[in-house]
Structure formats: C-alpha cells, structure tokens
Symmetry: C2
Subunit: 452 residues, 2 copies
C-alpha cells in the first residue's frame, strides 16, 4: 500500500477548526515516531479529531543530538517548562520519574490534557496524578504504558465499564516472552537465549528490569488499578522473574503439554473475612498449550481478561517498538483532542474504592515442583507423605532417572509433581519440609500452573 | 467468586449524582441480561459513570410474555414511543429495521443518546442515523453490533484513530465458525455439522442468515465504515457463504497446513487510477495454521486488524450470547453516561471521506482450486497451460487418484492447485476455461487463501 495515495478531497470551506498546540516531551524511539506522524498526517488527524493538532515543539536534553527520524531542527528546545506553558496538549515520552512527573503536574495544573507512556511513573504515582488531572479538568491518558500498540487500557476503562472484571493475565514484556519462546523452541538455557535476545536487540545490555519482572510488575499494577477500580502501586505487586527458569523446566513442561510464560496476574480473590480483595503478581507460570496465551510467540504481547458477563477476552499485538507504541499515543491524542473540542475532557477517576491486597493464603493455584532425589526405594513415598501432611494433593508425578533404569545411573533421580490447587502458604511449607528430607538433594523448581 | 461480596463502603454524603433514565427497547436474550445488570449493579455503575443509571421501563410487544430472567412486571410496557419520550438514554435491542429505526430517530431527535446492537439496521442505514445523532448532539454507540463482547468498535474508533488501518479480517459469526471447526476436527460434511450445531443451539432452525454469510456481511460493512472512515453499506459487500465447503476441501486444506474460516474482509486497495479504494467481502478463506485467526475455535469470534504503525493486532472473545453481548451494551451505556454527565456527548462522525469500492481486478489473493479430472496422461499439462494462458502462476499442486495408483481407480483423479497471488478476474477466466476442457469433469472448489 505504500505507493497508494488518498484522492484529494474537493476544496472544503476555509478551515475554522480549533488549533491545538502539542508539546512533545522526549524524542527517543517512540517520540520521534509521534513527531513524524504529527507532521505527516495532519489532514487525516484533523478530519478525525475535529481540531488541527499542531506540533508546537519537542523538548529534549540536547536539541542537537542525532534522531531516528529527520525532523525540523527549529522544533527542538531544551526548555521543557516553557514548551509546556505554551501548549494545549502535552505528550510525555521522556520516561523516568523526574522531570516527567513535575512537567505532567505543570501541564494538568494549567488545564492541559496529557498523554503519557510512562509506566514507571504511573505505577509509582498514578493515583496522585489522576486526581490532580481530574481536579483541574484535564485528561491524563496512557494507552502506550501497557502492551505497546495493543488497545487494552481503553477497553478496560470503557468497553468493560459495565461489567465486573475478575482476572487479568498478561504477557506484557516482549523481552521475556522472546527468551522463553526461544528456550521452548530450541531447548536453549536461559543464559544463551538471553544472549541471543541481546544480539537481536530484543533485550537491553542490562536486562534486569525485563528478566527480573520489574517492567511487567509496573504494568500489572496499572492493569489491576483499572480492572478493579482500586489503587494498586508497584509495592503491592509480588514479583519473580525468569532468571531461574531452566531448560529442564521448559522440557518437563513440554512433556506435560504445558508452556512457561511470564505472566502479570491481577485477580479478585476472597479475603479471609469473605469480602473482595485483590492479588497482583508477576511470575513464570505454566499454561496448558491450548490456552490462548500459550500461542503468543516471540516478542508479541497479549492480555487475557475474564469478566463476569463478557467471559474470556484476549487482546494481542506488538508490545513495544517505536511505531506500534506511537500508534497508541496517537490514539490517545486524537481521542483527547475530540473531547477538548467538545469542551469536556474525560475524567481519569480510576479508583472508586479501596480493595485490600490479600495475603498468600488466598492465592490458590496448582503448582509444578521439580526435585532432585536419591535414586533409592522409598523416596517417592517419603516425599508424598510430606505433601499429604500439608493437605496438598498430587495431581500428577513423573520420574526421570539419570542414566536410565533404576540403579543404573549416578544414584540420582528427578521427580516432577503437579499439585491440585493449593494455597501458597501450604505449598511453601510443603517445599520447606521436602527440602529437609535427607533423600532430597535439592528442590530444582517451583512454578505456578494456571488453568484454561 | 460467586460467594464473594464487596465490602460495604463507609456511608457517603447524600447522593447528588445526576439521574439518567434508561428506556430499554426489547427484552430477548440480550435485553433481559441488560435489565438484570441495571437492576443488580446500580451502585457500581453509579460509581463508574458518575450518574445514577435507572431502568425506567422495558418496551416489548407482549408485556405478559415469559422472559429468560425474572424482572419486575411493572417495568414492562407496550408503548415504546412513550417510554422513549420519558428517557434520557435509550437502549435498542429489538433488532430488525422497523420499528427500531423510527424509535432510534425519535430518541436522537430529542437529544437522547442511544446504545444499539442492531447490525442489520446499521449496515443498511448507519450513515443516516449517525448524521442525525450528530446533528442533535446525541451519541449513537453500537459495540454490541459486531463480535458480541469483544471490544472492537471502540478500539477502531478511538485507540486506532491516530493510525491508518489497512486491513481487517474478522471471524464475526460464531455459527459458521462452529460448523467449520467441527468439520475440521471430525471430518464431518457441512450438512452433518450444521445439524449438530442446530441440535446444540449454535445455529437457528433457519440458518440462512448465518451460513450464507449475510450476518457476517452486515458486520463487515460496519467494520469497513469505521476502519476506513468511509460509508460502506451492505450492498457494497460481496458475500459468499459456507454451504459449498466440503469435507474434501477441509481435508485438502489440512494436508497443506491450512484451515478454512469464514472471514469478513475489509481492505484498503489501490484503484485502477492509483488512489485509495476499498474492498469489502465475506467468503470462506484458507488460512495458514500459524495465523492467529486459525486458532479461533468453536463459536468464538476474533477480529484481526492491520494498521500502518500498530502492525498486527487481534481481538478475541465470545461473539454472541446474552451475557457477553449485554457486557458490550453496558460498556457503551456507562461510557455514554459519563459523557452526558460531562455535558458533551461524543460524536459518531464515522465517515470523513468517500472511498470508491474497487472492482474485482484490484483484489489480489492466492487461490486454492480443486478439480475432478479424467485419470489419463497429459491432463495436468493441459490444465497447467490454461493457468499459464491467463498469467496465473501455480505455487503448489497435489494429485489424488481415486482407488490408488494411476489407472487403478474409477478413471478419475482429483487435482488441487494453490496459485500465487492473482486478480479475481484472471482467476475467474482461468476457472471458466478449465471448466471447458473435455478432460475436466468439474471444478469442485475455488477458495481464496490469505497469508500470515
């Protein structure tokens, strides 16, 4: 379609559409694409929004630096505050906490609506920023903060606003999905798959934020806040990364018709006194290969939502990258412009109640547990007895003996158990006691299993 | 989660939220669920919308008929017009053209915003209704009209409003997806799979609207209108159903790593003079099994969207059913209520330009063609010559001889060709000429193939 042109419209009446000046803060991978789209697609954006959306300037630390996209040099400025003060709409794509936070507050306090993709800032200070925006009749939108191009924030906030969301499961970090997918398809160890991801540009030189799950945790906090209408911050999210997932774990999962994905999970659960609470966490999770999320390959993202009336929904697409993320920013910008033209910016009012975060007892899932044990009679029965002592029921067991038949190997065997649903507390106690058995060399893995 | 209760909030200040009276028109599978949710979830809906959304009444033909859900009898009325006149918001779930059309016009002309799920009406009269709503500062929303619970209308209208959608491929009819999926997994013929679908309630006693593709065509018209910002009506949609898809077609597809789906397809294509045009059609389509849509099983729906910046996106979920469709209606209702509270209903203004519909020449796809031919030497070369005459290049060929080895059977063989991309015109001419060859008994199937 690249050579195709839109037929010019017959000359319309002189353009009396409102002009909205946009301040763009930051000009990295995403920001430079937003600038390009604003400069190239002005006519279409005006037709769809009812306003002429003009790029007033781009604030960057160094106005003379080289950019991904060629842009007119006169747009650049180092004075972000002056640019914000001159604008009707602000697009914040600097990332990080400061000066992004101060500049967003400066904008909304003068009534300018803001579009941001800053998940770290929102996961830390979202509720305070939302409140300040509402108080000043400004809109704060952030589709780009979770899962790149995938429309997920708006569907949760609007399309599902008349339903009751009970669970959100998201593959929201492309780097870790790429690594796990590589391990699954090639049998590679984590370190090798990570090196490959770094070589291909899917992982940063310092991959900590991705592989330890911190990036996914920020997105989980945002998704939970919106899905359950309750403030959830990064500190509320229990987080475990994928660095300890081994090629053996992946192979054992495969043998059982499962796949390992790093999931951001937000659930409504029952508190100990019987009321609603929420649990928000990020961890490697075993999923049946029939689960819609199991088919999400490479660096793609997907968010699976369960709601009381809608049932199961899934949203799938590119989770990162300059152009996809810029698409999400532009969607927010056009939607905001429409409402500014209509004279009524939307409210952010995400949190209408305060749900308690539940303790480990309330999280009931199945588990897969891998053990290295002495290859001798009676081991299985002793291990099984520990499960029974803690009321944890075993659904399946598989034994692999190093070197082949019993007694033929190096004296060690591997046991893999899948449990029926159990509380995290009961499971942790079971694992601790198993670890203390003299016939157990080590607990090699403990992974949660989600059903379809 | 059924036993879980939301903890009562501390008593708030006296409720000064605006009251919005809702007129519900129709009380079938979806309408009765909408009534139930309005009656049960008032508190949550008020918290999320900022208004008390009150069910003022339900207009039905026979107020005394038995309903799926038990509802207070005093809500029912046969006087739809009086109910509309008394309401702030109208939910139209009667279906059909009249009186739905007149009642929607009556509502928007007095400035009442409307939520509808009436795809037949919108595919016929959408642009006129949208214009009338905008002129009267009323909002007309219709998430429930396409793909049930799946948020697809709002993502296209808002989330992708700053992008350029180039293609939409939708599995938007659950009945036909169920039938094709059954044929694929059991090897059943169409008639048997249809009978099974009817037995299970997935297909109507008169299945014409589903199996002939008419239902999907109405949705295709709506999706194209929104995706390309141009008016597209049902008459613009070329439509072919699944009644001629045979168990042989399905088996041959399987052998080639393909699956047959009934797709609603809307594409931007180049017109003969090099400008943008659009093609909108519904037909059975061969898809590679790796395509995200290939994994959509049973009666589920999914819509796959390609946009210039966002790349490939997919939206998946329940495409029908009372509760899922009611979830979509409620999302529209809460979103509309928020804007009514803010004093600025959204505009529907979907069509900002008029793209030409392109002729068959502009539609370039691969094809799969099945032939029954005489089992004798030289047949393949004669058939291949016809392809060559029309400039249609063959990508793959597979021959199956009835009864086993050449010469051993009943004197007939089956040939299946997959072509490289070709225009529909060239293909139609090729098929006509092949059909005239004396060695060809019949052309058993012609199916389009979409790539990943």
């Amino acid at each position: 379609m690249t050579e195709t042109q839109t037929r010019p419209e017959p000359k319309a009446a002189p353009d009396d559409r409102k002009v909205l000046k946009v301040a763009l803060l930051g000009c990295g991978t995403v920001g430079s694409q937003v600038a390009r789209i604003l400069l190239e697609d002005g006519e279409a954006l005006a037709a769809r929004s009812g306003a002429r959306i003009e790029l007033a300037g781009i604030a960057v630390r160094n106005p003379d630096a080289k950019r991904d996209v060629e842009l007119p040099s006169e747009l650049f400025t180092a004075d972000a505050e002056a640019l914000v003060d001159s604008a009707d709409l602000v697009v914040e794509l600097m990332g990080g906490i400061e000066p992004a936070r101060s500049l967003i507050l400066r904008a909304v306090r003068k009534g300018a609506s803001v579009v941001t993709g800053n998940k770290a800032l929102l996961a830390q200070d979202g509720p305070a920023l939302f409140e300040e925006a509402d108080r000043n009749n400004a809109e704060l939108s952030f589709e780009a903060a979770v899962a790149g191009a995938i429309p997920i924030i708006r569907p949760i906030r609007e399309s599902l606003s008349g339903d009751r969301i009970t669970r959100v499961l998201g593959i929201v970090n492309g780097t870790t999905n790429y690594i796990l997918d590589q391990m699954d398809s090639t049998g590679a160890q984590f370190a090798d798959a990570l090196a490959e991801a770094q070589r291909l540009g899917y992982a940063e030189a310092d991959p900590t934020a991705d592989v330890e799950g911190h990036d996914a945790a920020a997105k989980a906090a945002l998704l939970a806040t919106l899905a359950f209408h309750t403030p959830v911050s990064l500190d509320d999210v229990r987080c475990q990364g994928i660095t300890k997932v081994s090629a053996d774990d992946i192979a054992a999962a495969k043998d059982s018709g499962l796949v390992i994905k790093l999931l951001a999970i937000a659930e409504l659960v029952k508190t100990s006194d019987g009321y609603e609470g929420t649990s928000v966490r990020v961890h490697p999770t075993l999923l049946p290969r029939e689960h819609p999320l199991a088919a999400v390959r490479g660096a793609y993202n997907a968010v699976f939502v369960e709601a009381e009336n809608a049932g199961q929904l899934m949203f799938y697409g590119a989770g990162a990258g300059g152009r996809p993320t810029a698409s999400a920013v532009m969607g927010d910008l056009v939607s905001t412009a429409r409402r500014v033209v209509a004279g009524a910016p939307g409210r952010t009012d995400t949190a209408t109640r305060k749900l308690p975060m539940v303790g480990v007892d309330a999280i009931i899932t199945s588990y897969s547990i891998g053990l290295e044990v002495a290859d001798q009679p009676g081991v299985l029965s002793r291990v099984a007895a520990v499960f029974a002592d803690h009321g944890v029921s075993i659904e399946a067991m598989r034994q692999t003996i190093d070197g082949g038949a019993p007694g033929a190997g190096d004296g060690r065997a591997e046991l893999r158990f899948v449990t029926h649903p159990a509380s995290e507390k009961a499971l942790a106690e079971t694992v601790a006691d198993i670890n203390n058995l003299d016939v157990v060399e080590s607990v090699t893995s403990v992974l949660r299993v989600e059903g379809v």
